[in-house]
């Protein structure tokens, strides 16, 4: 049977005229602006500093204390986005705005449920979301290990002390990269399948 209409859709229609646009903005803000073009770039540069490929004293001084902990501040965004993914990016959301909001209420209900059912069955919605959740878990684990190792360092601004954690930084970088790739798999536009 077709999926029941979620109650939260009504709430969404009040808070945002087109929920998929707000969701896409959130996704772009997290993945494109922050993770890929800020956090990973800084991490790449920091690893290059550890590897003696570049010199950047300012980054060395602030990375562990200021930049690295940004993951803790931003992770809730991606967790929230994934929780709302199926709700916001289903083609059912088209029925919340013009012109399909002009449909009689009964038609909005069943047509929305129909296209949502097709979308959920033809696009592996839950699997894609679970892949991102799994990638978040890997980043969390790598982050915890990194923080633990760094906390054992005598000086979090000392190049030689931080170099002892070089491989852990590499593991964390790889986990972040995989998360960015997993988020990229999420559709960037509404899909009708």
């Amino acid at each position: 049977m077709v999926a029941p209409h979620p109650e939260t859709t009504a709430q969404l229609s009040e808070s945002s005229r087109v929920p998929w646009e707000a969701w896409q903005k959130g996704r772009a803000s997290f993945n494109h602006d922050w993770l890929k073009n800020h956090y990973l770039l800084a991490l790449d540069t920091f690893i290059n500093v550890l590897d003696d490929l570049v010199e950047n004293d300012a980054l060395l001084n602030e990375y562990v204390s200021s930049l690295l902990p940004e993951w803790e501040e931003r992770r809730a965004e991606i967790v929230g986005l994934i929780d709302e993914f199926a709700l916001c990016m289903s083609p059912r959301t088209l029925f919340l705005t013009r012109p399909l909001v002009n449909c009689p209420p009964m038609d909005r209900e069943y047509l929305g449920a129909l296209v949502d059912t097709l979308w959920r069955n033809r696009r592996p919605v839950e699997r894609i979301a679970d892949d991102v959740r799994s990638a978040i878990g890997v980043v969390d684990a790598a982050y915890r290990e990194l923080r633990q190792r760094v906390s054992l360092s005598s000086d979090t601004r000392s190049l030689s002390a931080l170099r002892e954690s070089r491989s852990t930084f590499g593991t964390f970088r790889y986990a972040c990269l995989r998360l960015a790739q997993a988020v990229e798999v999420l559709p960037g536009t509404l899909e009708i399948l």
């Binding site: 049977m1 073009n37 770039l41 399909l100 069943y110 059912t117 097709l118 990229e184």
Partner: protein, 252 residues
């Protein structure tokens, strides 16, 4: 000599070399333009070298940190931004309103031509109705809505009339036959479509705001509107023809 005879000087700024050159290629195929590209491979590089950044009239720029820093060094160009997420995150007058993640979905030659023609105009001539569809908010919005109802119509019709109901296992998820019959009858009514999408369909608006002339046959939308005007129950073939044009247009 007309304005079209003068080459417009354009820069494409994008750290991703492949995407950058794909966009530049589309622009080069689209019209009379002198094109410079900037990318990182592995160091930042201009190709060819720009003799004077002040000569750049138009810049198509990826909305990344390094690209925007470079853009600040270029005096007074007309700027079009694009982003991986379809431009939703960008607040600017001219933004490409669809996702460009790489060469696969970079702009087409005809879209490049539209952009060049628009930015050849004097700024005061760049009126809202002349803005290329690629840069318009709400791009593919009305069309998506039409497509979603076509999809529902065709799915219900298949559920009821196709001999092999297991051909698409998802059809089995639909409600019982009686319910489908009732709903399909409603969707066959031109009055239903008119009440939702307008009577007649706002063809000029759709064509102006959402239709990309390089993809799909707009005549199919016109023909569909004519069928609605006949006030007779819609046939599956009529809806299939419209849906076919829409899937091509929207790359569904």
């Amino acid at each position: 000599m007309s304005a079209l005879d003068n080459p417009i000087t354009v820069a494409v700024i994008d750290r991703n070399k492949d995407r950058c050159t794909a966009i530049a290629g589309a622009l080069a195929a689209g019209g009379n333009a002198k094109i410079f590209v900037w990318y990182i491979d592995p160091e930042p590089v201009w190709q060819p070298t720009v003799p004077d950044t002040g000569s750049l009239q138009m810049v198509i720029c990826h909305y990344g940190v390094s690209e925007r820093e470079l853009l600040e060094t270029i005096p007074n160009p007309s700027v079009v931004f694009f982003g991986g997420g379809g431009g939703a995150e960008i607040s600017h007058e001219y933004v490409i309103r669809r996702e460009i993640t790489g060469t696969r979905n970079a702009i087409s030659a005809s879209e490049g031509q539209e952009l060049l023609e628009f930015f050849r105009l004097d700024p005061e001539q760049r009126t809202p109705e002349r803005v290329p569809g690629l840069l318009r908010p709400g791009f593919q919005f009305f069309l998506l809505s039409l497509a979603v109802v076509c999809q529902a119509f065709l799915t219900l019709d298949r559920r009821l009339n196709d001999r092999d109901e297991t051909a698409d296992r998802y059809i089995a998820l639909l409600p019982d036959r009686g319910f489908c019959e009732t709903q399909l009858e409603r969707l066959k009514s031109p009055a239903w479509w008119h009440s939702v999408f307008g009577a007649p369909l706002p063809l000029d608006q759709i064509k102006e705001k959402e239709w990309n002339t390089s993809r799909g046959d707009f005549e199919k939308v016109v023909e569909f509107d004519q069928c609605l005007a006949q006030a007779e129950p819609l046939k599956r073939a009529t809806v299939e023809a419209l849906y076919g044009a829409l899937t091509q247009q929207l790359r569904l």
